[in-house]
């Protein structure tokens, strides 16, 4: 489903990614862990189509297409979803308006009819329940004045609605208290299964305890240094990145 080969990228003159190789098959959950500044968020952004990074070498193939040639929205239409580390505020735009526009934009490009107001409302109410969010959320401006936890829950709510084929969760656990972490983690778990692949980008193991990944990769200094199964995450938690690096 997703093949990253020898991916190099830089910002300005600074190289950030220095040859990433990663293969994600349909239905797999991969965790990418690593210390701050290792390039984790850069990788997420490049996969979602952010244009401030320059890819200097390598390729990314998604469902047999050159992912890097697609605009961010074209990636969304094909089922790529990024949950932001720092979800952006859109003043004056109600959350429900964004959610509906997003769902219908994606549906239209997948050849499905747009959801009517009533149908959409039923769907969004069901998902709100899953995320234990109040309906008042719908009528607040997008991310404006949301707490850290509310923002992340809102991201996963969007993921629930958009039903992506490839979901990239960038530091979704940051800024979450224990309860919010559980709700978000379980929200993601509900989406697990079938052909849906998930890439979890995180600094800590705590989210991985809830969403048990099939594979764990350690990203450091722009390269994947180590790959393994869930036990690698547990080892990391115990020994720290320095310990692993030294080993």
């Amino acid at each position: 489903m997703l093949t990253i080969q020898n991916l190099h990228a830089r910002v300005g003159e600074t190289p950030i990614l220095k040859g990433i190789n990663l293969e994600v098959k349909a239905g797999e959950v991969h965790a990418i862990m690593g210390p701050n500044g290792s390039g984790k968020s850069t990788l997420s952004s490049i996969l979602a189509g952010r244009d401030e990074y320059e890819v200097t070498e390598g390729s990314v193939t998604y469902q047999d297409e050159n992912l890097l040639a697609l605009e961010p929205e074209e990636r969304a239409w094909r089922g790529v979803f990024l949950s932001f580390q720092y979800p952006v505020e859109i003043p004056g735009v109600k959350n429900i308006y964004l959610l509906k526009a997003a769902v219908n934009a994606v549906r239209t490009h997948r050849g499905l009819p747009e959801l009517k107001a009533g149908e959409f409302l039923r769907l969004v109410r069901e998902k709100l329940k899953v995320m234990q969010m109040d309906e008042a959320f719908l009528h607040r401006n997008v991310n404006e004045g949301f707490s850290g936890g509310e923002k992340k829950r809102n991201e996963i709510l969007q993921m629930q609605l958009l039903e992506p084929t490839l979901a990239i969760l960038d530091e979704t656990d940051s800024g979450l208290d224990v309860d919010a972490l559980r709700i978000v983690g379980e929200g993601v778990n509900l989406l697990r299964g079938g052909d849906r692949s998930i890439i979890l980008v995180t600094h800590y193991q705590r989210l991985l305890d809830i969403i048990k990944p099939d594979y764990v990769h350690v990203l450091a200094d722009g390269e994947i240094k180590l790959s393994g199964d869930f036990s690698l995450a547990q080892r990391l938690e115990k020994e720290g990145y320095e310990g692993i690096r030294a080993a």
Binding site: A48, G49, R50, D51, E52, E71, P72, E73, R75, A76, W77, V80, F81, L82, F84, P87, V88, E89, I90, P91, G92, V93, Y97, L98, A101, A102, A105, V106, H109, N141, V142, Q158, L162
Partner: protein
């Protein structure tokens, strides 16, 4: 990273409504002198008093000079190169229904996406369509008459309700008010006349679509709305114009009078041709709009979406004379390409406990220059008067400009004034976020901008708000930053 070249490229869009309709018209040769004014007056069979009024205005205008204080720049206008009268030729006595209207005219409206039939059916809106200078079709007149409401071309009102016209014309904006108001008073072509009798709530939104269609023809609309005691009216004005090469002058005058407990809501969507990338060929929109809250507890509310014109010079204002009267100004002004907008309002507080609210949203893209210019004046005796002003500017790209010129004159110590101002940029983060949710770059920009404008759009009547959002979309098409 997105570059400014990209921006410029994206902003560059052909004017969608750029077509010229060839309607057999009756146009004066260019030039202005007393004989032209007499000829205009004669064409309309005007009474002697109105001709005298026009001639007086002309004499005043001759002694005046064009204003130069606005934050706009343009070459001097040659007033002798403008034609001062243009009317679609009428067959017979003029159309009584849509069937009698020139089909080509109807086609123009259809091209603009505002078919009259549909509008009337769906929205129950009575449309007094001004095509060039003469009102061609007035609908729903009977239903309005039933309620006692008069809604007709001003030229008709001069004959049907001479006492009302005579009593109010020029009382809010006198001939000598300013250069363009004086010119309008001398040569005004036509416009709408609205009279809402005492205690009547106008049964429908009154709507006029203006469209400048004659090449090189100045447009001098004049509108007069009178709301008697305890009455209510909502008036909508919308404009589009075809593409052309020469600058066109538009100097309209709108006067509103609200008696005790009356309310006038005046909404405008203005989308005149903005000119090419260098501002060439766009409309010069020099408009004087003013309302007087004459009676106690009266209310006048101006809401505008200004997306077009090469130059906009427009300050819809309220004179708050009656005690406890309310003035409101809600504005979204967009300046892209090389557009220059200098717009705002004046709130003149005279009566005690008068209140005013100003919400101005300026959007600048490409090389557009957007200025808010406002005056809040509290005169002695306007005890406990209050004003709230909020001026927000949104910049798209980095070659555009936003300017704010708020003037405040307070001569009443018990008055309370608040002023808030912000300037922000549409961020790449916002656009990227929305694009990862499946929205195109343009849709993403529209969403951000519409969010910015929400406070104003929600003041527009429902059908108009939808149209306003669509127009804003057309205006910003490609203006992604």
């Amino acid at each position: 990273m997105r570059t400014d070249q990209d921006l410029d490229q994206l902003v560059d869009q052909e004017y969608k409504y750029g077509f010229v309709t060839d309607i057999d018209s009756d146009t004066f040769p260019p030039g202005l002198d007393e004989s032209v004014i007499r000829a205009i007056s004669a064409k309309k069979n005007e009474p002697e008093w109105l001709l005298e009024w026009r001639l007086k205005a002309y004499q005043i205008w001759l002694t005046m000079t064009p204003p130069n204080w606005a934050h706009v720049a343009y070459p001097p206008i040659d007033f002798q190169s403008i034609s001062y009268f243009s009317a679609p030729r009428k067959k017979g006595d003029g159309p009584q229904s849509l069937d009698e209207v020139d089909p080509e005219l109807i086609e123009v409206y259809n091209k603009l996406g505002i078919p009259l039939e549909e509008q009337m059916m769906l929205a129950g809106v009575a449309v007094d369509a001004v095509f060039d200078s003469v009102s061609v079709v007035t609908t729903f007149k009977d239903k309005l008459l039933e309620a006692g409401v008069v809604f007709c071309p001003l030229s008709e009102a001069v004959h049907s309700h001479p006492e009302l016209v005579k009593a109010h014309l020029g009382t809010i904006i006198p001939q000598q008010d300013n250069y363009y108001a004086a010119l309008n008073s001398a040569v005004f072509s036509d416009g709408s006349f609205v009279y809402i009798p005492k205690g009547v709530r106008c049964p429908m939104e009154l709507s006029t679509y203006f469209r400048i269609n004659q090449q090189n023809t100045g447009q001098f609309e004049r509108t007069l709305i009178i709301a008697e005691e305890g009455s209510y009216v909502s008036y909508l004005e919308g404009c589009t114009a075809p593409q052309r090469d020469e600058n066109q002058l538009h100097a309209a005058v709108v006067e509103l009078v609200a008696m005790a407990d009356a309310e006038i809501k005046y909404s405008t969507v203005q989308n005149w041709f903005a000119g090419d990338d260098n501002g060439k060929g766009g409309i010069y929109n020099f408009v004087t709009k003013r309302g007087e809250c004459r009676g106690d507890r009266s209310k006048i509310s101006w809401t505008q979406l200004e997306t077009g014109s090469a130059i906009t010079w427009k300050y819809p204002s309220c004179i708050l004379k009656g005690a406890d009267s309310i003035g409101e100004f809600y504005s979204v002004a967009v300046a892209g390409k090389k557009q220059q907008a200098d717009t705002g309002t004046k709130m003149i507080h005279i009566g005690p406990r008068t209140r005013s609210t100003i919400i101005s949203k300026g959007i600048s893209t490409n090389r557009g220059q957007n200025a808010y210019r406002g005056l809040v004046k509290i005169l002695p005796g306007a005890t406990d008067a209050r004003n709230f002003t909020q001026c927000d500017s949104l910049l798209i790209g980095d070659q555009c400009g936003a300017h704010t010129f708020p003037y405040v004159e307070v001569q009443e110590p018990s008055a309370q004034l608040e002023h808030e101002a912000t300037t922000s940029k549409v961020s790449d983060d916002q656009l990227f976020y929305l694009r990862t949710r499946g929205m195109t770059e343009e849709d993403a920009l529209n969403m951000v901008v519409n969010g910015f404008c929400k406070d104003v759009f929600q003041k527009l009547p429902m059908e108009f708000a939808v149209e306003a959002e669509a127009l804003l979309g057309i205006t910003l098409e490609g203006a992604v930053g």
